[in-house]
């Protein structure tokens, strides 16, 4: 089984979408996943925003890690530094989108403040750190993890749309049945494991 640090970035990209989906195998970013998946359109916007933010944050955090944190020997502060980077990136992204693409801002921009506190972003960045990825791998992993999250929320939104009219027991309506559905989805995604050996 190859070590994390020498997987082909393209393989890594698809692996982080399917076999080690950050949501369904690591259960990160679940709160906004459950809250927003009620609506298909919002899920699309949020998924796109998460993908962009995780991808960009992985690239920037990798650079900061290699050229600031490791040379100064302050790995013990990487947690805080990553959080600051994520917050700043989200803020800047929001400003740029607001300025240059009002329509994109409308579908995606309003979710950006939500993402600052999305644990999937910090989780992905920390995975990138402990697995010693190179730059291309970090970027591939970042966008892959985001795309995996995006795929998962779109699937869940579609499923929730279908169960809307089904007779769910009263006590399970809303979040209850959603959590059970997420469990089934996670089990289904286990079927992908072994296709690409990353673990």
């Amino acid at each position: 089984m190859p070590a994390f640090s020498d997987i082909n970035p393209i393989v890594l990209f698809f692996a982080s979408i399917l076999t080690s989906n950050i949501l369904l195998s690591n259960f990160l970013g679940t709160c906004s996943f459950i809250a927003i998946s009620k609506e298909w359109k919002s899920s699309f916007g949020l998924g796109l925003a998460v993908t962009l933010v995780i991808g960009i944050c992985c690239a920037i955090c990798w650079t900061v890690l290699q050229y600031l944190v490791i040379p100064l020997g302050i790995e013990y502060l990487s947690f805080i530094i990553f959080i600051i980077v994520i917050a700043a990136v989200v803020q800047m992204l929001e400003m740029v989108i607001d300025r240059y693409s009002p329509s994109l801002y409308l579908s995606l921009g309003i979710f950006l403040p939500l993402i600052t506190v999305n644990c999937a972003v910090l989780g992905a960045v920390l995975f990138m750190q402990i697995r010693n990825y190179g730059f291309l791998q970090a970027v591939a992993f970042g966008f892959g993890a985001g795309a995996g999250w995006w795929l998962a929320i779109m699937l869940l939104a579609a499923i929730r749309k279908r169960i809307e009219n089904n007779p769910v027991p009263a006590g399970l309506k809303g979040t209850g049945i959603t959590l059970i559905v997420i469990g089934f989805m996670a089990m289904a995604f286990i079927g992908f494991s072994g296709m690409i050996a990353v673990q």
Binding site: L77, I84, M95
Partner: protein, 373 residues
């Protein structure tokens, strides 16, 4: 340098660097230069600095759209017609805009940003809305939680309004409150006394403006009043006025009745005034209104307490104001004559009264109200 300092210093330096980048980016991206706001098809053309919400931009040009929440998107009062394209409706607007309003291109002025030339339509009457500098004059406790406050207008020194209209009180910063906020209050003074504005302010626990009025405001303090706003006023018809108020909802009615009495206006109108409170400690202006009822034949005053205590010796109506209103409408206030409803108070009270009134045959289109948002 001591190794333990490296980490905190590097983190702080890095954060400062990011903050700098963000503020530079903000200065660059949020600069839209000078844009033109065209009002009512060219009647007014204002060159303004772009990048801010329309509501604030207009206020900077001394044009005041009504706004009870001060631009936080929580009252939906600052509606105006925007004829040029400013992009699709925002999720923060949709809760306040009906499909019919969408077809008339009505937007929430506090939510849309002025980024390029924009054309809007606003009622002509808004041009007469002014910002008044006023000082706090006489303050009187009406009940344990309602104060009657008089403001002496200084600049401009007089106000022209219709009884029933309201002003926005801009409360200065105080204590932990670091921003000036605006709240809407109906005027209880009369147009015949244009140098003063009187408001009735009930203390709302945790309310920023009401807490200031009740706990911090002193005689002589200078505040800003913006107005007059609103279309809650006496309609010129022969119908009987059926008025219902609770708490500080008394304010617009005090203004209406005093003005009608002083000028003997709308001479054909009979007036019924229902005022509901919980117990005598919530009741005020009782003697004044009973005196007015004796002296003014077409005015009828019905105060009601929902929970009077036996030792209070209450001799008026007892029960919820809706029940008292119901029994009067069905028995005492002739259905043979057309009737109009005027309501001012909490949303719950107003909705309940509208039900009672329509049940008793008053056309919903003849029910006018001023809800505390």
């Amino acid at each position: 340098m001591h190794p333990i300092l490296v980490g905190p210093l590097a983190t702080a330096g890095f954060s400062a660097f990011l903050a700098l980048v963000i503020s530079l980016l903000d200065g660059k991206l949020n600069d839209y230069g000078t844009v033109n706001v065209t009002i009512n098809g060219g009647k007014k053309k204002l060159p303004v600095r772009g990048g801010s919400p329309l509501l604030g931009t207009l206020a900077g040009e001394e044009i005041f759209l009504p706004s009870a929440c001060g631009g936080r998107g929580s009252c939906g009062a600052c509606k105006c017609v925007v004829t040029s394209d400013v992009g699709p409706y925002l999720p923060t607007e949709t809760p306040y805009i009906s499909a019919e309003e969408v077809s008339r291109k009505i937007r929430l002025a506090c939510q849309i940003k002025v980024k390029k030339d924009i054309e809007i339509e606003i009622p002509e009457s808004l041009f007469s809305i002014k910002r008044f500098e006023a000082s706090v004059g006489r303050v009187r406790d009406l009940t344990y939680d309602i104060k009657e406050v008089r403001f002496d207008l200084r600049n401009p020194s007089s106000i022209d309004f219709m009884p029933g209209q309201y002003v926005q009180l801009a409360v200065p910063k105080y204590g932990d409150i670091t921003e000036s906020v605006q709240r809407a209050y109906s005027m209880s003074s009369v147009p015949g006394d244009p140098g003063n504005v009187e408001l009735l302010v009930r203390l709302v626990p945790g309310g920023i403006a009401t807490t200031w009025v009740h706990k911090f405001m002193k005689t002589g303090d200078v505040v800003q009043l913006i107005g007059p706003f609103g279309d809650f006023q006496v309609h010129d018809t022969p119908s009987t006025m059926v008025c219902v108020a609770g708490g500080s909802g008394m304010a617009p009615f005090k203004s209406m009745f005093n003005d009608m009495r002083a000028r003997d206006s709308f001479p054909g109108k009979e007036i019924w005034f229902f005022f509901g409170a919980r117990s005598t400690r919530d009741m005020f202006y009782l003697d004044e209104l009973r005196k007015l009822e004796k002296e003014w034949p077409r005015f009828h005053f019905v105060p009601a307490l929902s929970e009077p205590k036996p030792e209070e010796g209450w001799n008026g109506e007892i029960g919820l104001i809706t029940n008292v209103l119901d029994s009067h409408l069905s028995a005492k206030i002739s259905a043979g004559k057309p009737r109009e409803g005027y309501l001012c108070g909490s949303p719950g009270m107003i909705d309940a009264c509208i039900k009672v009134m329509t049940k008793n045959g008053i056309d919903p289109r003849d029910i006018f109200y001023d809800k505390f948002a």
